[in-house]
Amino acid sequence: MSNAIETKNLHRRMGKTFEIRELSLSVPTGSIYGFLGPNGSGKTTTIRLMLGLLRHTGGSCMVLGRPIPGDAPRVLARTGYVPERPHLYTTFTIGEAMRYHAAFYATWDGRRAEELARRFGLDQTQRLSRLSKGETGKLMMLLALAQSPDLLVLDEPTDGLDPVVRREVLSALLDYVSQRDATVFISSHLVHELERICDWVGVMDYGRLVAEMPMQTFKNGIKRLRVTEAPSLVSDTPFVLLARETGDGLSGGEVWVVRGWQDPMKQYFEGVGARLREVVDLDLEEGFVELLRTFRAPGA
């Protein structure tokens, strides 16, 4: 499977205290890739590096098979981008914004644009400075989708939007993806939202990629185990032990957070003389939090 986006050891320093380093991620073509991370983890910076808005100082970046920033104009011609903060000219009306945007993209689909405007309930005579947050979000999605892009890069597109608007926007996105074999790279800190639509997930923290895997593996693979009589030292586990803590007084024993869990792995505990009391499924958010916690722990 080819990758729509591929970075290798990407590096960029931002100011004195923050840097993106050793960032190697791969976004399979045709996938919906969720890019997770807390605020300030470097998601937006990574996106700007991928689109050539910032120049990386190390490593390489290929988008749609072309190097960035060298071939950025060609890449951007096939990429629909919704930034974190609105970037349109507020002196425009919606109609003017559509016409301006259309002038730069040979693949602009006027019919789709009109259809989306009707679907989103946007008045084309309305000035951008007077739009609500939701309307602005819808407009930016409209512009990105009407370009007929091969790649959609969405930086927290539903941030601050009410649930109704979020649903409209994501619905339009999924409709588009279902019609075309487009790749979607969507960053967010709203884990539940991504859980529903993404089939790949990458987790970012402190400028580094913590984990990257299919969404299903992420959701199913992280478990919380209640273990008693476990040896102090464990090795050669069939799963990835993310954390090991003393349990609360009521249940006793230890709490293990593991990744890559599968049922047959229960036998491991018998082998080391421990007893597995309980296997607790974690939802995506809990799994995300545990992942970050272990990443941030000293010695991780």
Binding site: P73, V75, H87, T90, F92, F104
Partner: protein, 218 residues
């Protein structure tokens, strides 16, 4: 693409361009207001020339103002959005810059053409004493070049980053501070004056703003 960029430029700076155009048209007419005397047999050219010279400083000042307006307005809305929109458009960046430049230039053609029209009208309206001539075409050409240069300078400054602005300010301030220190030390070395002279005489960039800006002259 160019049409859309021209449209945006017009949207952002249209009011200023209209004001500049009106001022450009009216200025030459104002400068010859004393020359339309009712007694054409008696025109004292020596009274007319100082009056024209009084207004002559207005031409380079207007050219400068129009250039400033055009050069800064070209980038105002991009600055507001931190240039994200422009930088994500699918065309080479230098191409985008030149499109903006060209659009601004196209709009600034309006006040220049109106100055030309105003100068030709003023030349016809004025009773020109023998020995003097009207120079509407030369005036318009010089004015156009001055506008072009002023616009280019302010466009370049506005397109730069904060760091660039810092360098410009730093160099200018540094020269002035150095000059003050030199003067305080008792030396007679002049730092700023020679640089200034170089800038305002050929082949310096500001030479076009000097000289005689007289619609009617010998």
């Amino acid at each position: 693409m160019f049409r859309q960029i021209l449209y945006t430029q017009w949207k952002w700076s249209g009011l200023g361009i209209v004001a500049a155009a009106l001022a450009s048209f009216v200025l030459p007419i104002l400068t010859v207001q004393g020359a339309g005397t009712s007694d054409p047999t008696w025109i004292d050219a020596r009274a007319l020339l100082p009056a024209l010279e009084y207004w002559s400083r207005a031409y380079p000042a207007l050219a400068l103002a129009i250039g400033l307006l055009g050069g800064t307005m070209a980038w105002t809305n991009d600055h507001r959005g931190r240039h994200v929109y422009a930088l994500t458009l699918p065309l080479p960046r230098w191409h985008y810059v030149l499109l903006r430049y060209g659009a601004g230039l196209a709009l600034l053609l309006v006040p220049v053409l109106l100055l030309w029209a105003g100068a030709m009208l003023a030349g016809r309206m004025a009773t020109i004493p023998p020995g003097l001539h009207a120079y509407p075409h030369a005036l318009a050409l010089r004015f156009g070049l001055a506008v072009l240069l002023a616009y280019s300078i302010f466009f370049a400054v506005s397109s730069g980053t904060t760091r660039t602005a810092g360098y410009v300010i730093g160099v200018v301030a540094g020269l002035m501070v150095l000059q003050v220190l030199i003067l305080l030390s008792g030396s007679e070395t002049r730092l700023v004056a020679p640089i200034f002279d170089r800038l305002v005489t050929l082949p310096g960039p500001f030479e076009i703003f000097g000289g005689r800006w007289m619609l009617i002259d010998v």
